[in-house]
């Protein structure tokens, strides 16, 4: 503790001075670094309506936070940045609350089922691999489809001289289903079944993959439910708050792995970032937003795929005993 001042130059002394010891993670980390990480993820959250769990968790691993703590604490941070983003969207009236509730019902049932599936996979001992394969397959398909579609939309918009061609109302099997509901904010009149199924599927995946599921939810709302891009982001954030809040509670109670000081520093950065992100998102055109989101999804997919394909420099890894069945 009594480190002599002569050993380091002054700026290093200042840097290590900002270190805080995290009681649950049991490591000492620079506070500014955590603020910055939270900020980046908050911006993405505000722009795209994704929670950012797929980004913050690996970043926290990199900083040296144990995986279990990183997963649980990032869920808590996602609650904060999503609330911050949602507030901004509520003020702009770009949230379809009714759709949000329907998705949420499906989502909560889905995450309940997901926890069961996750524990089953864990007993098989290959949960890590399953999660990664899930990521690669889903992100790859979603990202590629969205990228192609939104590029076409941009080209079409250019040909039409900046005037958007009126979107043809899709009449498919979705419209033949019963229990029709009117979603005014999305200007949709569809059955409640597809949103319930989408919510369920996203909840299931989210629980298995340990993320809020925004990056699956957003494309699903645009392409499967046909919601307008401008209400998608806010509605996604609305439902992420509940999923992430539920996840935080679950982790805190069953594993004691939520690190409050860590969450605090991340969420201070996160809530500010989310506000900045929302104002950036409003200025972007819908197609541009989709292209960027597609690129984001594809790059995350690419990174995980590379990790699976390239020989790691250290073949061995350490884990808490009992973490796997």
């Amino acid at each position: 503790m009594q480190r002599s001042m002569l050993d380091y130059p002054a700026w290093v002394e200042l840097g290590t001075d900002m270190n805080i010891y995290l009681p649950i993670a049991e490591v000492s980390v620079n506070a500014f670094l955590l603020l910055g990480l939270g900020g980046i993820v908050g911006i993405l959250s505000g722009i795209f309506g994704v929670g950012g769990g797929f980004l913050i968790t690996p970043l926290l691993f990199f900083v040296g936070i144990p995986p279990a703590v990183a997963v649980a604490t990032s869920a808590n941070q996602i609650v904060a940045s999503s609330v911050s983003g949602l507030m901004a969207h509520l003020k702009r009236k770009t949230v379809d609350l009714k759709m949000g509730y329907v998705l949420l019902v499906g989502g909560l049932i889905g995450s309940g089922a997901g926890v069961v599936v996750f524990n089953y996979l864990r007993s098989l001992g290959q949960v890590d691999l399953m999660v990664r394969l899930c990521y690669v397959v889903f992100l790859g398909i979603i990202g590629a489809l969205m990228f192609v579609e939104s590029l076409r939309a941009i080209q079409r918009a250019r040909k039409a001289g900046g005037v958007m061609p009126k979107k043809r109302k899709q009449r498919n099997w979705i419209h033949a289903l019963p229990f029709k509901m009117r979603f005014r904010a999305s200007s949709l009149y569809i059955s409640a079944i597809p949103p319930l199924i989408v919510g369920f599927a996203v909840g299931l995946l989210a629980a298995i993959m340990g993320v809020g599921g925004g990056f699956i939810m957003v494309p699903a709302m645009i392409y499967i439910l046909g919601m307008p891009t401008k209400v998608v982001v806010g509605t996604s954030l609305f439902q992420i708050i509940f999923v992430a809040g539920f996840t935080t509670l679950l982790h805190a109670i069953t594993n004691n792995t939520v690190d409050l000081p860590l969450a605090l520093f991340l969420l201070i950065g996160g809530v500010i970032g989310a506000q900045v992100g929302t104002s950036i998102g409003v200025k972007l055109r819908a197609e541009m937003l989709r292209v960027l989101l597609a690129l984001l999804v594809l790059s995350v997919c690419g990174k995980i795929a590379l990790e699976l394909l390239i020989e790691p420099s250290e073949l061995y890894s350490l884990a808490q005993a009992g973490a796997e069945g």
Binding site: Y21, A252, I253, V258, L267, I272, Q275, L318
Partner: protein, 255 residues
């Protein structure tokens, strides 16, 4: 009867210790490490003297110091390529491995310590790791424990500090061991061995208490003992922070 015998041996023990020709008198810069919110590693200074009533023998005196953190089971996994992708294929559950282990010596360990003495006192880190190997699937145990030590050494959690103990006039010795910032709490065991010609002639053991204090202690206990309250508190803080930030930003924009 057996209890009586045990008592008898207990009474005998101090006498035995006194019977050693050379005895260690140890000082510690701190026998307690408090982990506060600002904790960022800590240097422990171990110093002492050798007390003796006989003349100094001809063989040079060497000193070995070990500091060992609490132990627990650990899972070591190895990735292998299957169907073109790298997956965790084999694993070994280590029954007990310390979270921290440092060995400092006054000379190269191979010279100051006989192998047989190392077996007896379990001085080097590979002797401190216990593998009764319950779950070895493919591959042998040695590769896994070697990997465990390698990874922990890169983390600075296992340290081998040869020539780091300074011995003065065969009597005074001192060394300093840096505890890393990712310290786990518990009782840390410090051991000092005196060797001549590779054999241990005297040893001494003490503990350094490492514990969280203040806010760190409070939060840790809350998370462990009142998990539901802690969980709800975390979520509420997150919601309030999110709402607060948006309110602040609105105020800024309206101005």
């Amino acid at each position: 009867m057996s209890r009586f015998l045990a008592l008898f041996f207990l009474m005998l023990m101090p006498l035995q210790a006194a019977a050693q020709d050379e005895e260690i008198v140890l000082g510690l810069s701190q026998n307690q490490v408090a982990i506060t919110a600002r904790f960022d590693g800590s240097d422990i200074l171990l110093f002492g003297a050798v007390k003796r009533e006989t003349p100094i023998p001809d063989d040079p005196l060497e000193v070995i110091v070990t500091v060992e953190g609490p132990s627990g089971p650990l899972l070591v996994r190895r990735k292998e390529q299957r169907f073109g992708i790298w997956i965790n294929a084999a694993s070994l559950e280590v029954d007990s491995a310390p979270v921290f282990y440092a060995v400092a010596s006054s000379g190269p360990l191979s010279e100051v310590l006989e192998r047989i003495e190392n077996e007896r006192y379990k001085i080097t880190v590979d002797r401190a790791i216990q593998t009764v190997s319950r779950t070895v699937e493919f591959g042998n145990t040695k590769d896994f424990t070697k990997a465990l030590i390698r990874i922990q050494q890169e983390n600075n959690s296992y340290q081998l500090l040869e020539n780091a103990v300074v011995v003065d006039q065969q009597t005074l010795f001192r060394t300093s061991i840096a505890l890393p910032s990712n310290l786990t709490e518990g009782a840390y065991k410090a051991r000092i061995f005196l060797t001549r010609d590779g054999s241990v002639i005297s040893h001494f053991e003490t503990t350094i208490d490492v514990r969280k204090v203040g806010l760190e202690r409070f939060l840790y206990n809350l998370a462990q003992e009142h998990a539901p309250i802690y969980g709800v508190l975390s979520v509420v803080i997150a919601i309030v922070a999110g709402w607060g930030a948006s309110a602040v930003f609105r105020l800024i924009r309206e101005r």
